[in-house]
């Protein structure tokens, strides 16, 4: 598979399950890489690689405190994806609400309640 776009694409950055795990962990607050290594259960080089991808799309910021590098979530970079997903959800939810009404009717018909006039 071509990997060219990986680092430039926020959507791709969060499509990888391990990276989502890292983002989830960072949602709880700023953490050093060692914490992430034990939380995600990958070796440090792999975690660092994922962090690099996340940093390149702006989803994660890093700062140095003494000898430690602390990573934190930058939700702003992910907001467009969040918005898109929410809007897509809303559009489906509206259809499914209509489908609920159809299903209620089918259930009533099947249970034969009310009018046997068909």
């Amino acid at each position: 598979m071509a990997r060219a776009a990986t680092t430039a694409d926020a959507f791709n950055a969060i499509a990888e399950p391990r990276r989502r795990q890292i983002l989830d962990a960072l949602a709880g607050g700023e953490r050093p890489v060692n914490d992430l290594v034990s939380l995600v259960g990958l070796a440090q080089p792999q975690v660092s690689k994922h962090l690099r991808v996340l940093r390149e799309v702006g989803a994660v910021d890093v700062r140095e405190v003494g000898r430690q590098r602390l990573y934190r979530l930058n939700g702003h970079a992910l907001k467009p994806i969040h918005d898109w997903v929410k809007s897509y959800e809303r559009s489906w939810s509206e259809c499914f609400d209509e489908l609920d009404a159809v299903l209620e009717e089918l259930k009533h018909k099947e249970q034969g309640d009310g009018n046997g006039d068909e």
């Binding site: 776009a5 791709n12 997903v85 809007s87 897509y88 959800e89 499914f96």
Partner: protein, 163 residues
């Protein structure tokens, strides 16, 4: 605790580069959800949601059979989709292709729908497998183009195209 009567929300997740997963629970047994999903007169009543009016719903429910949905969106433009069924397990699972008619040269998406029943309720999953990561990116990006408000019509057209 979930309430039994209220309608649930669709939950959308992004399993990988080329897929979008939509999940929703219905307060009805799966054979009825399947019936509502595959019967043209019933599809007409829900598929366009609040966005417009469905003018065509054709379903030839057999492997290799064609389907076609067209709606007039509230903005006045026509939105059409068609495809064919690849796999049919009644009340359980449907696999069909889907092509957005405004982009007839595109590769069709492949949609998998599953119906799973527990305690008289049905969980429906819809998994559009897009032709490529590029198609998905295009969908996401065009949806976000010009901000969410201005992009709404386009976004809706595109969201529908994933069905």
């Amino acid at each position: 605790m979930e309430t039994v009567t209220s309608s649930g929300s669709a939950v959308v997740t992004l399993p990988n580069d080329e897929q979008i997963l939509i999940t929703r629970e219905f307060d009805a047994p799966k054979h009825l959800v399947y019936e509502a999903w595959t019967t043209p007169e019933l599809v007409r009543r829900w598929w366009s949601g609040k966005r417009g009016t469905m003018t065509i719903a054709e379903i030839d429910l057999r492997v290799g059979g064609a389907w076609r949905y067209v709606m007039i969106a509230d903005g006045g433009f026509e939105v059409g989709f068609h495809g064919e069924f690849r796999e049919i397990v009644p009340n359980e699972r449907l696999v069909s292709t889907e092509l957005y008619e405004a982009m007839p040269d595109g590769d069709p998406a492949v949609n998998t729908v599953t119906f799973t029943e527990a305690d008289g309720r049905t969980t429906l999953t819809l998994l559009p497998q897009l032709a490529s990561k590029e198609v998905r990116d295009m969908i996401i990006e065009s949806g976000m183009e010009g901000g969410m408000q201005e992009g709404m019509d386009l976004l809706e057209a595109i969201a529908i195209s994933l069905r």
